[in-house]
Amino acid sequence: MADRIIKGHVGIGPKVTGEALVASDNFSARYDLNRVDGVFSRPTHKLVGQNYVGKVLVLNIAKGGVATAWMLREMAAREMVPLALLLNFANPIMAQGAAFGDVSLIDRFDVDITGAIQTGEQVTVDPETGTVAVHG
C-alpha cells in the first residue's frame, strides 16, 4: 500500500520497485559516475562516494554531455545501472538513453521530486502512468 502518489509526465521503461537515493543535485553518467565501481565520483556531487547500482536515483535535472544516451545500455549490460531515474527535468539524452537501455525514467513532476522523496524510501516507478508510489 502506497503512502503517497506523486504525478509526473508519462515516462519510458518498465514498472519497477526499489530504494530511493536522493539529492538536490544534477546528473550525467559520464561526468558524475565511476561506472566501473558503481559509485558517484564527481568530487563536488552531493552523492559522491555513494553506490548507485540498483537504486531509484532521484535528482534535479540532466546536465552535461551526450554520452549517457549510450551508457545506460552499457551499464545495464554489466549490471551496474540505476534501477530508475526520477528527475525534475530530463533532457533528450536521458530519454534517449532510457529508451535504448530500457531503464525507467519519469520527469516533470507536480512537485520538486528531490524534496518529495527521502533516501532509503521504497518507491514504485510506473512510467506508463507517469506516477511514483512511495511506500511507508
Binding site: 565520483s41 554531455g65 551526450v66 554520452a67
Partner: protein, 415 residues
C-alpha cells in the same frame, strides 16, 4: 502519440527492414516522451560513438545492424562521426590499453558496414558540412549542437548516439524542442561587461552562463559583445556552456543569426540582465586553482583544435622543450591534422616533445584508464569544458590560457 506518415508507418512495420524498424520504434518512444506531434526530416547526422560510451553492448548493437542486407542497413542521409576513442598511431606512446584498441577496431568496422563516414571530429561545423540557417539536423555532440543551433541557425536537439543512429537510418527525428520556433525564444539575459581576451576566457564566460541554466529548455541571450568573436572563440564559449549546462542554444545579440536585436529573441520586454564581469571570470579560474604547482599532463582538446589553434600551439612551443615530467597532448581532426602535416605545424609541435593526436578527443578516449596507466592526475587545459568533465575521472583539472598551459609544460610545474 507522435503521428507518423505513410512511409514512417511502413518503416515501423518493418517494410524497410529491421534496422529501420528498430530505429523508428526508438524515435517513437522518445517523441512520445517529449509530446512531439510528428517527425521532421533531417539532412545530415553527426554521430557520437566512442567506445567508452558505447561499451561492448553498443558495439554489439551496431554489429547486429550490420548483419542485415545492404539496402536495409545503409544510412539514408550523410552521417559523420564524432571523435573515436583511440588514435591507433599514438596508442603505444600514450599507453592506451590494448583491450580498448580492439574495441575501437570493431566499432570502426561496424560503422563502415552501415555506410557511415568516419570523420572522427567534433568540429564538423568548421571542417565537413557547415549547417545553414533553418536546416534540420541530428547532431550528437553538445559542442557541435550548440554551435550549429546558435552560430549557424541550424535546428537540432542533442541527439545522443542511439538517436543519431536512428535518425541516420530513417532520415527523421521527433519534432520537439529546438526544431520548433517557440522553443528557440530567449528565456534569460546576460550582459558581458568585459571582453573575454583568450579562448579560455570565452570558455569561462560560457561556463558561468551554462552553470546557471535551470534545464535543457532554457535559452540564454547575451548582450554587450562589442564586435564579433571568431569561430574558435564561439566554439569554446558554446562548448563550455553546453557542458556546464546541458544547453543547446544561445543567442548573442548582434552576432548570431536569430538575434539581430533583443526584440527578435524575446516575446515582450526582456528580463533583467545578469552581468558577467572580469571578476566573475577570474573566480571561475580560481575554482580550478590547485594547492600546489605539480603538473602531469597538459591537454588541448574539447573541442578539437582548428588549424589556427594548432598553429598557435606550435608557435608557442617552437624552439622549446616540454619538461620531461610533463606530457602535452593536442587533439585535432583528421582533416586538420593532414593540413598541419603539410604546413609543418605537426613537426613544430612534436619537435618540443608534445604529442599531436588525430581523430580523438581526450575525455572520450578512456581518460580514467589512460590517466592511471601514465600516472596522470594534475591536468591543465585551456578548455573549460574538459576541466568540467574530468574531475569525475579522478583528475585534478586546472584551467589556464594557452600561453599559461605551455609555459607550465615547459617549466614542469604550474607557473
Amino acid at each position: 502519440m507522435v503521428k507518423l506518415n505513410e512511409e514512417e508507418q511502413a518503416m515501423l512495420a518493418g517494410e524497410f527492414g529491421e534496422p529501420r524498424r528498430l530505429s523508428m520504434e526508438h524515435i517513437q518512444k522518445v517523441g512520445n516522451f517529449f509530446d512531439a506531434e510528428d517527425l521532421v526530416e533531417v539532412s545530415q547526422v553527426h554521430l557520437m560513438a566512442d567506445t567508452e560510451s558505447t561499451g561492448e553492448a553498443g558495439i554489439e548493437y551496431l554489429e547486429m545492424l550490420g548483419t542485415y542486407p545492404e539496402e536495409e542497413r545503409r544510412v539514408r542521409v550523410p552521417t559523420v562521426t564524432d571523435p573515436l576513442g583511440c588514435d591507433f598511431a599514438k596508442a603505444e606512446r600514450i599507453n592506451h590499453p590494448e583491450e580498448f584498441i580492439a574495441l575501437e577496431r570493431r566499432l570502426t568496422n561496424a560503422f563502415l558496414d552501415l555506410g557511415i563516414l568516419i570523420t572522427q571530429t567534433c568540429i564538423n561545423y568548421q571542417t565537413i558540412l557547415p549547417p545553414v540557417l533553418g536546416e534540420h539536423l541530428a547532431y550528437g555532440d553538445t559542442g557541435s549542437s550548440i554551435y550549429a543551433n546558435s552560430v549557424m541557425g541550424g535546428r537540432t536537439n542533442f541527439q545522443g548516439g542511439p538517436s543519431a543512429l536512428a535518425a541516420a537510418l530513417t532520415g527523421r527525428v521527433p519534432r520537439y524542442g529546438f526544431h520548433l520556433d517557440e522553443r528557440r525564444r530567449g528565456t534569460n539575459l546576460w550582459e558581458l561587461q568585459c571582453r573575454p581576451e583568450s579562448l579560455s576566457d570565452w570558455g569561462a564566460a560560457g561556463a558561468i552562463i551554462g552553470r546557471a541554466q535551470g534545464s535543457y529548455w532554457e535559452v540564454p541571450v547575451i548582450t554587450g559583445v562589442d564586435g564579433s568573436p571568431n569561430s574558435d572563440e564561439l566554439k569554446q564559449f558554446g562548448a563550455a556552456m553546453a557542458s556546464f549546462g546541458s544547453t543547446p542554444l544561445f543567442h548573442m545579440v548582434g552576432v548570431t543569426p536569430e538575434a539581430p536585436d533583443l526584440a527578435s529573441v524575446f516575446d515582450g520586454p526582456p528580463p533583467a540582465a545578469t552581468p558577467i564581469s572580469q571578476a566573475d571570470i577570474d573566480d571561475l579560474y580560481r575554482s580550478y586553482q590547485p594547492d600546489d604547482d605539480k603538473l602531469d599532463v597538459v591537454v588541448f582538446a574539447a573541442p578539437q583544435l582548428s588549424l589556427v589553434e594548432m598553429q598557435q600551439v606550435g608557435l608557442l612551443l617552437r624552439d622549446r622543450n616540454v619538461h620531461a615530467d610533463v606530457t602535452v597532448l593536442a587533439a585535432t581532426s583528421p582533416e586538420i591534422k593532414a593540413a598541419c602535416d603539410r604546413m609543418g605545424i605537426t613537426e613544430m609541435i612534436e619537435a618540443s616533445g608534445a604529442v599531436v593526436l588525430e581523430g580523438v578527443c581526450f575525455y572520450q578516449m578512456h581518460a580514467r584508464e589512460i590517466g592511471e596507466a601514465n600516472g596522470w592526475r594534475r591536468l591543465m587545459s585551456n578548455s573549460a569544458k574538459i576541466v568540467n568533465i574530468l574531475g569525475g575521472y579522478g583528475y585534478e583539472p586546472v584551467l589556464g590560457t594557452t600561453e599559461h598551459c605551455i609555459d607550465s609544460a615547459v617549466a614542469g610545474r604550474i607557473v
